[in-house]
Amino acid sequence: MTETPVLEVRDLQMHFPIGGGILDRLKLDSNGIRLEKPVVHAVNGVSFKINRAEIMALVGESGCGKSTVAKTIARIYKPTAGEVRIEGQDIAGYGFAEMLPVRAKMQMIFQDPFASLNPRQRVSDIVAEPLLEQTKTTQERAEVPERIGQLLARVGLNAEHAGRYPHQFSGGQRQRIGIARALSVTPDLIIADEPVSALDVSIQAQILNLMKDLRDEFGLAYLFISHDLSVVHHIADWVGVMYLGHMVENAPRDVLFARPRHPYTRALLSAAPSIKAKRDIKEIVLSGEVPSALDLPSGCPFRTRCPLAWERCTAERPVLQEVGDGQTVACHLIDAPERDIT
């Protein structure tokens, strides 16, 4: 019997109806006047799983839905459809009270270390808060201060930092506080939404090393959201590439970086600047920008920017298919390799 994944997401969909005044939404067409209900299709059927001690990265450009996936799994949003299984348990429909015990298994680290800590709380209170939510007996609560000391030491801060306020810390130290807060309830899964993109490169390396050490020490699984491919290459075991709310490619890291199959993945890899000489893949240069998630293209979501698209891409939406070595790709080129440029 195989191990139950820490996180399994099946066909996750997240749509946001957007408002606007009633007059903006009134549209006149051949059938008369009707009221439009515009919907942002942020996530359109994403599936993946993460095992214990594994790091899965989601990459893509702004607006591809990667942060929405993270927030939907953390149940900051209620998914429109699909399953989110934490250790086998589907939490997609859970209410606030039912979520409380789940939050002991899953915690989040945010992008902006300046906005994600309450400026009026001391560090010790910030780190203790999730733990106090989870412990109800007096005896357990008596142990909290000691635990806070251990946590701060583990992420590289001193006991004397516990009484200070967030503004007294640098960006890197604040991110350490955010990590200590997430660790306080000994979760199995940490959802990290762009945890290092607000940091300078030398501090970024410190935080990435810390996150890896914690994975090795506690067997943590991470869902790591990033737009930076070099960071993802360093930290991830699996990489999922997203475009307009769709997963277009999902593969083990080494496979993805050595043999990217989807034209969008190839374009991302060739666009990323590097201090090293370019790797040996056929360069795909994209023109134009990501279409609006209000009005998705028919067929393949990427076809409007894809240099290799043909009629089939307009007519039929490609689905993820296995191409070996655990790599799955959603592209019609898999069935028509003669159209590829390599």
């Binding site: 030398s202 090393n209 070099s230 360093h234 600047p273 590097s274 240069v285």
Partner: protein
């Protein structure tokens, strides 16, 4: 005129000091920075937050406001000192001879005016063209930065453009008066990688086409290594290293540069841990005596605490301010 350019580099910054006098102490944001740029060159100004790179850019354009002040130094544009120049002279230079591209394309355009009006303003101030000729020049420039249906788009407002398109407009405005020097402060930091690569290609083509020079201010060494001819590395308001791009990237002699390069994850090989620079940037109101980097430096010795290192020639094209510089092949 020709003799002039032969004698002087296009822009020379000599021992620039820009301080901010705040209530909690004097912030020595730029503390003795010197460099030169020749015609047609791209120079990358890199470093972490607080290194002083943006303040150098603002100082060149005379955009330092109280409590900031240029305390000492010279900024020579074709031999003429801009620090001593009056506001009238600076206004004539800004946009005409030196123009700037800012980081955030969302806030560097005026949301209340059409793109066409904002482009036209540059030409109205800096050229003798009549309205028709200015319109034609704007259309041509907008097309050359890759915006189609340019004549229609001139009537659009900034919010009607996406981030990448707005940055194209900002670049078009910067290039419009054919400046000799463009200062680009983190021009692609707010953009996605595929858009970033489009914008970088565009900037390179525009510079080559118009024969302009550029100072590219960024924290991203990878962007600089693909764009710049020379790199100047700043740390705490000082130049710690400068030289030709390949020399700096491949065999830096300052331990700070080495540390920066090593902390970038390498996508060609897999390391278990990234090498990291310990600690963080010191408070620039209260810099350590001697070398500013010594508390974080793996090579620091007693001399680093007592004596401030000066920029000295190193191997190849490099200049570095370090008592114990690295040789090619040394590890940090």
């Amino acid at each position: 005129m020709m003799a002039n350019t032969a004698q002087h580099p296009l822009l020379e910054v000599r021992d620039l000091h820009t301080y901010f006098h705040t209530f909690s102490g004097t912030v020595k944001a730029v503390n003795g920075v010197s460099f030169a740029i020749n015609e047609g060159e791209v120079m990358g100004l890199v470093g972490e937050s607080g290194g002083g790179k943006s303040v150098v850019g603002f100082s060149i354009l005379g955009l330092i406001d109280s409590p900031g002040r240029i305390e000492a130094g010279e900024i020579l544009l074709e031999g003429q000192n801009l620090v001593a120049a009056g506001e009238d002279r600076l206004r004539a230079i800004r946009g005409r001879e030196i123009s700037m591209v800012f980081q955030d394309p969302m806030t560097s355009l005026n949301p209340l005016h059409t793109v066409g009006k904002q482009m036209d303003e540059v030409l109205r101030l800096h050229s003798d063209l009549d309205a028709e000729a200015r319109h034609a020049a704007c259309v041509e420039m907008l097309e050359s930065v890759g915006i189609s249906r340019a004549a229609d788009r001139l009537k659009a407002y900034p919010h009607q453009f996406s981030g990448g398109m707005r940055q194209r407009v900002v670049i078009a405005i910067a290039m419009l008066a054919r400046p000799k020097l463009i200062i680009a402060d983190e021009p692609t930091t707010a953009l996605d990688v595929t858009i970033q690569s489009q914008i970088l290609k565009l900037m390179r083509a525009q510079i080559a086409d118009k024969g302009a020079s550029m100072i590219l201010i960024t924290h991203d060494l990878a962007v600089v290594s693909e764009m710049a001819d020379h790199i100047t590395v700043l740390y705490c308001g000082n130049v710690v290293e400068r030289g030709r791009t390949r020399d700096v990237i491949e065999n830096p002699s300052h331990p700070y540069t080495r540390g920066l390069i090593d902390s970038i994850p390498d996508t060609t090989k897999r390391l278990d841990r990234l090498s990291q620079i310990p600690g963080s940037v010191p408070d620039i109101r209260n810099l350590p005596h001697g070398c500013n980097f010594r508390d974080r430096c793996p090579r620091a010795q007693a001399r680093c605490a007592s004596e401030e290192p000066k920029l000295m020639p190193q191997h190849a094209s490099l200049m570095a301010a370090c008592h114990f510089p690295l040789e090619p092949g040394d590890t940090a």
